[in-house]
Symmetry: D2
Subunit: 138 residues, 4 copies
């Protein structure tokens, strides 16, 4: 975790693992990692200054890439660190690190998702909302 | 879908979308795609000849890469096509295509997951079970 | 299953258990039963003649009562039988039986849910839509 | 919340609603309430003095009864209050109240679940573990 200051995350969400996130192998199921990322992402978007969506510009997930580094047990508290990896005209690549809140050197997952803002009526990509661009571009 | 015969999927699972797979945006949530892949993968493994795991060799998901091509609505029936993309000593890369069963030209998602067989006691990668290697290597 | 004809279900949904429905005890998690009921209920509502909701009348779940008779394993195919137990001005009590499709004498769960149609703007109960009343009242 | 002191809950769990708990109606899905109860129950069991299960005595859910009093939005923090309503030889009835942590007068759900301790090998009910009886009997 000796990252330079200018690589500070955009946002860090602290989330509790739920027992229901486990599967029959007694580890957090792979699909729950995407739920953790979604929760962190929406918490981040919810606290930026200005609207991050409207009727003509909604974010959709275009791609996800996850590495599963270590199994996650229950109970645990996680930190989900989000960083902007790429800022396009219509899209945003958010890199993540999921670590243990009690031991941040314990990396459970890294990877990224690509979000694209679309007009739900036309299905076309639209420009990123100004508030999102501003919040992501630091 | 004019794929050559030798590119026939290893396995095709037919799955029903559930209303609960939708999220507040009224489309199937991104995490449910991993559940569809898991279901297809376990159905495939469940029908191969011979054991695909034992106490000393269990598959774990090491990585996932998904492209979300089109939103999925409810109700729908999906086909999940699995293909072996790479066969390593301990690992297997399974590519997928999720299409609409009623219109297989409608591609909802493609991508891949990497599975690694591990000894849960030692945490070390182990050789792929013979039955898995044989089923994947065609 | 020697029930008299006039006790025939309103609707029977056939649903596949998913591996993700299991929890760390390797049985279908108790919350998934409500998802099975929801799926069956929405399939029933989706096929009745006439609208079952509009902007001024939406169903909400007011109560649920479930008995868990036997654990459900994976894989399995279930049949969810729905019967109307009570028809009120604004509410509908739907009884259920979840049985194994391959062995309908195998009863996994019975119980009921109460649905109330509400105006989402006012939060007041409203009359059941005519199509719902008609479909439920046999 | 003017309950007498001797009606203090056995346990109060504080849980964060996740966006994924919402369904397409933009409220927390009815199945997620059971997940909240499960999480609270397992947190309670996890902190009692002494073992609450072993190979010959595992709790299974026998029944659930939930009233859905108010819709739950996201984001929100919930308090799940658990009270012992009945203590049998093999079973425990746990009543619940789910309230808003920021406004505990806001009651989202009440009801109860019945847990029975079973020997998983024989499928027979067994005596409640002493630690559970002691923790529940106040």
């Amino acid at each position: 975790m000796s990252q330079p200051t200018d690589d500070a995350p955009l946002f860090v969400a602290e989330l509790a693992v739920r027992w229901r996130d486990l599967d029959a192998f007694n580890h957090v199921n792979n699909s729950s990692y995407l739920t953790y990322l979604e929760e962190a992402r929406l918490q981040w978007l919810g606290q930026i200054r200005g609207p991050w969506f409207d009727d003509a510009a909604m974010p959709v997930l275009a791609a996800s890439e996850l590495n599963y580094r270590l199994p996650i047990a229950w109970p645990a508290t996680l930190q989900v660190e989000l960083r902007c990896e790429r800022l396009g005209n219509s899209s945003l690549t958010l890199a993540h690190r999921i670590v243990d809140a009690a031991d941040p050197a314990r990396l459970y997952s890294d990877g990224r998702v690509v979000l694209v803002w679309m007009n739900p009526l036309t299905g076309r990509a639209v420009a990123l909302p100004a508030a999102v661009r501003s919040a992501a571009d630091r």
